[in-house]
C-alpha cells in the first residue's frame, strides 16, 4: 500500500472538479466500509480519497411536499432505521440497512456506497429496485437521472461516467395499500454475504394485486430486476398460489454461478423460496402488519 491523499470538499461542484482532475485515481469515500478494505488489499492505483460526508446534499434525508424522499448518497444506514417516517415508508430499504454488516458497520456504511460498489450481493440494491428509486448523478456535464435497476452494469461496475458521482436517490412516495420487504439467505446469522437476496413490492386493491415488483441479489452479475415476476402478479389474488407462480418465474430468471458461497442448484432454490418469503412480508406490510424477519 502507498500513501493516499485525502480531500473533503463541501459542495458537489468541488467534488466533481476533483474527480475530473484526478480521473480514475480518485475515489469517492462515503462510509469507506468497502473502499478502505479494497484499497488496503490492492490500492495501487488509488491516489485520492474524495470524502463525500462533508457535502450536505450527500448526507441529507428530506421529504418533499408530494411525499417523495431524497436520500443523500452518503447517509449512513443507522440514520435510516432511526427515522420512524422512513421506516414506515420504505420498509425494504430499512430491512437491508439493518442487516448490512453489524451495528458498527451501519454507523458508517451508506446505501449510496452499497449501490456504487455494485456488488451482485449488495443488500440494499434489490430493496432500492422494488422501491423504484432514481439515482441523481452529477458530473462535469451537469446532472442526470438513472433508474436504479439500470445503475449496475457488471460486478463492481456502475454506469457512472468519468468524473461523475452519485448525489442522492429519489424514492417515490409509497402508494396507498402497498408494502415491501427485503430478506436474504446467509449460512450464519450475521456478518455474512448474501447467498441470495430477494425484495418484493406489492400494492393491493382489496385482495387483488394492482402493482408488484420483485428483485433478486447474488443470482446474476448485477442485482436483478425480475420484471416478469412482478407483472405476473398483477390482477391476481394476493396469496400462496400467486406467490408460488411468481417465485417460479424468479427462479427461472435467476442465472447464478457455482462458487464457494453457493451452488447453482441451491441459489435457484433460494430464489424460489426467498421470493415467496419476500412477498409474504410485503403482503403483511401492505395489510398493516409487520413481516416476520425469518431467514
Amino acid at each position: 500500500m502507498r500513501a493516499i491523499q485525502y480531500a473533503a470538499p463541501t459542495t458537489v461542484d468541488d467534488a466533481v472538479a476533483l474527480l475530473a482532475e484526478h480521473g480514475e485515481n480518485a475515489r469517492i469515500l462515503a462510509g469507506g466500509t468497502d473502499l478502505i478494505v479494497q484499497v488496503r488489499e490492492d490500492g495501487r492505483d488509488t491516489e485520492l480519497f474524495v470524502d463525500a460526508k462533508g457535502i450536505p446534499e450527500l448526507t441529507d434525508l428530506t421529504v418533499s411536499a408530494d411525499g417523495t424522499t431524497t436520500l443523500g448518497a452518503a447517509t449512513p444506514c443507522y440514520e435510516l432505521y432511526g427515522n420512524d417516517n422512513f421506516c414506515a415508508a420504505y420498509p425494504a430499504i430499512v430491512d437491508a440497512a439493518r442487516i448490512i454488516g453489524s451495528t458498527g458497520i451501519q454507523g458508517r456504511a451508506s446505501v449510496g456506497g452499497n449501490l456504487c460498489n455494485a456488488g451482485p450481493a449488495g443488500d440494499s440494491i434489490p430493496a432500492l429496485i422494488v422501491h423504484s428509486a432514481i439515482c441523481n448523478v452529477a458530473g462535469p456535464n451537469g446532472r442526470r437521472e438513472i433508474a436504479v435497476e439500470d445503475f449496475c452494469t457488471a460486478p463492481g461496475r456502475n454506469s457512472l461516467e468519468a468524473g461523475e458521482m452519485l448525489v442522492s436517490l429519489t424514492l417515490p412516495s409509497p402508494p396507498p395499500n402497498s408494502g415491501t420487504h427485503y430478506l436474504r439467505f446467509i449460512p450464519r446469522n450475521e456478518m455474512d454475504i448474501a447467498v441470495v437476496g430477494a425484495g418484493a413490492f406489492l400494492q393491493l386493491d382489496g385482495d387483488s394485486i394492482t402493482a408488484a415488483r420483485i428483485a433478486l441479489g447474488a443470482v446474476a452479475p448485477t442485482p436483478l430486476f425480475v420484471q416478469a415476476a412482478g407483472e405476473a402478479l398483477i390482477g391476481q389474488t394476493a396469496g400462496e398460489a400467486a406467490f408460488a407462480a411468481a417465485a417460479e418465474i424468479a427462479r427461472d430468471t435467476a442465472s447464478p454461478i457455482d462458487d464457494m458461497r453457493g451452488t447453482v442448484a441451491h441459489r435457484k432454490q433460494l430464489s424460489y423460496v426467498l421470493t415467496q418469503r419476500a412477498l409474504r412480508g410485503a403482503l403483511a406490510h401492505a395489510q398493516g402488519g409487520t413481516p416476520s424477519n425469518g431467514h
Partner: protein, 744 residues
Amino acid sequence: MAVDEKTYKVVGTQPVRHDGVDKVTGRAKYGVDASMPGMVWGKVLRSPHARARIKSIDTSRAETADGILAVTTGEDYPDTGPGDYMDERAIARNRVTYAGQAVAAVAAISAHEAEEALRLINVEYETLPPILDVQSAMAKDAPIILDELRTETSGSFGNSPTNIAKHIIHEEGDVEAGMAAADHVFERSYTTSMVHQGYIEPHNALAYWNPDGSLVVESSSQGHFGIRDDLSKVLDYPKSKIRVIPAEIGGGFGGKTTVYLEPLAAVLSRKSGRPVKMTMNRTEVLIGTGPASGAHTTICLGVTNAGEITAAKIELAFEAGGYPGSAVGAGCLCAIGPYGIKNFRIDGYDVIVNKPKSHAYRAPGAPQAEFGVDCLVDEICEALNMDPLEFRHLNATKQGDVRADGTKYHTIGNIETVEAAMATDHWKTSLGEGSATKRRGRGVGSGYWMNGGGKSSAVARLNEDGTVTLLEGSMDIGGTRTSTAMQLAETLGIAIDQVNPIVPDTDGIAFTGVTGGSRVTFATGWAAIEAAKDLQAQMVSGLSDYWDVSSDAIAVDQGAFSQNGTTITFQEAAAVLHDDGQEIVGKSTVEPSGAGNTFALHIADVEVDLETGKVDILRYTALQDAGTAIYPPYVEGQMEGGVAQGVGWALHEEYVYDEDGRMRNSSFLDYRMLTSLDIPMIETVIVEVPNPGHPYGVRGVGEVPLVPPLAAVANAISQAIGVRIRDLPASPHKVRAAIASSTQ
C-alpha cells in the same frame, strides 16, 4: 459432582485472575506491542502456486528499492537434514509444495515499503498440477510431490517414491473373529475438510541481535522454549545464544507451537543490523500457517443384536499438507477411545497434498478420527433401535481396557460422563415440534483425548511480606497463571492473592514444554506443587535454625508454623526469616506421566430449514470429566470454546480450493467461523472423577471438547432430515441437496 469429597481451600474456587486487570484495561503486552528503537518491518513473499519448481529468484531490484534494508531467500538458511523439513517449512528452497509458502522476505524502514518491494522480486516457477486430496495422492500412479519421500512403517522405510509419509498400524485381539461374532457389520466412509484454529491474533515476531552474538526474539507463542529450540534448528545456532521473550497470546489452539516468522525476522535482522518486526495479516495466517488436516476415514464396526461392539476396523487418511507430519498418529489412538473394543485394527496414513503443512489443533487428529466412528455408532443405534446413551454406556471404555497403542486405562470417568448425560434436563426434555418447513433433530457425540504430561518447571520465591512470586515456564493461554498459582497456594496454605505468578523468558526459568496437549494445569501445576513443598521445607528448616529446634518439632498447618505452643502465620514466618538473613526460593522441574485420559459427551438439538438447508442450533449441552476442576469457570470456558469451534467445523468451516490449489476463501468473510448469534448459551456439566495420577486429581480439559461436536451436530441433522450426513461441513447447500435427494 465430585466423586472424591476432598476439602480444598483454594482449589475449586473462582478467584480474580491475575492477568485480568491488564487484559481488560488494554495494558497487557501482546506480541504485536513489542517494539525496539531503530526497529524496521519485515514482509514475506508467498508462493502463488501450489506445486512448482523454483527455477530462479531475482531479488536485485528489491534490494535497491526505497527504504529496503535486507532481503532473504531460502539460500540464507542451513540444510536441516532429512525428516522434519524444518528448513523448507520456514522458507522454500528449490520447490514449493503449497500456495502461501514463504519464498522470500524483505525488511524495510516501513511496512508499506516492504510490501512494495515484494512486488520487485522476480521468482521464476515451473508449475506442476497440484494434488489436493488424499485419495488422489494415494492413487497408484499419483504424481509424487516430494521426490525423496519413502513411506515409514514402524521405523522402516519403503523403497519406492510415494505421497504416503507414514503408515501406522495398531492391532489388538482378533478382528476377523470379532467381525464373525457380530450379528451386523456396518461400514461407511467419512470426510472432513481442512480447517483453521482461527485464533484472533495473527502471528508476530520481533528479532534482534546483541553485539555479543546472542539473538533475542519476542513473539506470542504457545511455548517460548519450543520457539527457541525450533529457531536453533532452523538457524543452526546454539540454544544458549537464543533468548525468547514470551508475550501475551491472543489464541493459539495448537497453531502457535512452531516457528513461522521468527527465523525470517532473525535473518533479516542479522542482515540489516536492525531489530526486525513482522506480523501476518489474516490471509497469511490462513494460507501460510498450519491448519488441521482434512481427512478421509473408513469405519467398519461389528455389533451383536444386543448392541455390543465386537470388532472395529478403522482406516484414517489425513492430509499432512506439503510436508509430512499430520496428527493422524493421535487420531489412531483416539478413534475408538470412548468404546472398549477387544478386537480392532487401525490403519493411519500421513499423506502429502499441496496444501499448507498441517499443524496441531486442539486434540490434534481426534475430531477427524472420532467423527466417523460416532456417526456410525448413531447409525447402528438407529438400526438396532437402541438409545444412543444406553449404547455408549454398554460399550464404554473402562479401567483395565486397552487403548490402541496397548496402554491400559487407569481410573477414568467415561461411564460417569455418560450417566451424567442421561441425568441432564436436556436429555430428559423432549425436542419439541418443528413446523411444516422446519424439522428438528437431536444428536449425541462422544469424545476421548489422552492428555499430555511432559516437562514443566516452577520456581517459588518467598518475599519478606509473605507473598510468593511464582515463576513458571508455561505460556499462559487459558488462565494457567492462576490455576497454577492456585495449586501452589493450596499446597502452602496461603490465599491466592498472596501469589504473584509470572512467566519469565527462556533465560529466567528452566525448560518447560509447550502449552499444548492439555498439559499445563496438570504438569506445570504439579511443578508448582513441588516448588511449594520445597519452599515450605526450606521455611521449616529456616525456622528450625531461628527457633533452634529440630525441623521435626515444627508443625505446619494451613500455612501456619507451630512449635512448642508458639504459632506464627506464614506472613510472620516470612518476615522472621528475612530479618534472619535467609532468602528462600523453592524450585522444581517435573516430568509426570499419568496425565489421565479424559472423556466428553455432547448433546445437540438442531432445527433444519427444509427449504433452504440452514441449520440452527437450538440447545447444546457439553459434559466432560475434568478430574478435579481447579478453577471451574475456566473448565466451562474451555468446554464452551471447544463447542463453538467444533460446531463451526461441523457446519461451516472449510478450506475451499480452486483447481490450481489456491485457497479461495482466505478471509473471515468466506472462512466462516461461528459468531455469537450462531450458538445459544451452552450448558456445561463438569464431571469430576479425580485423576489418581496427580496430587489434586487434575486431568487436562482444554482439548477434548473439540471432539464431540462434529458427530453430535451431524447426527442431529441426520435425524432431522432423515438423510445421513457423512461429509463435513454440513453447509446449507449440502444439507439442502441431501433433503432434495430424499424427497425425489
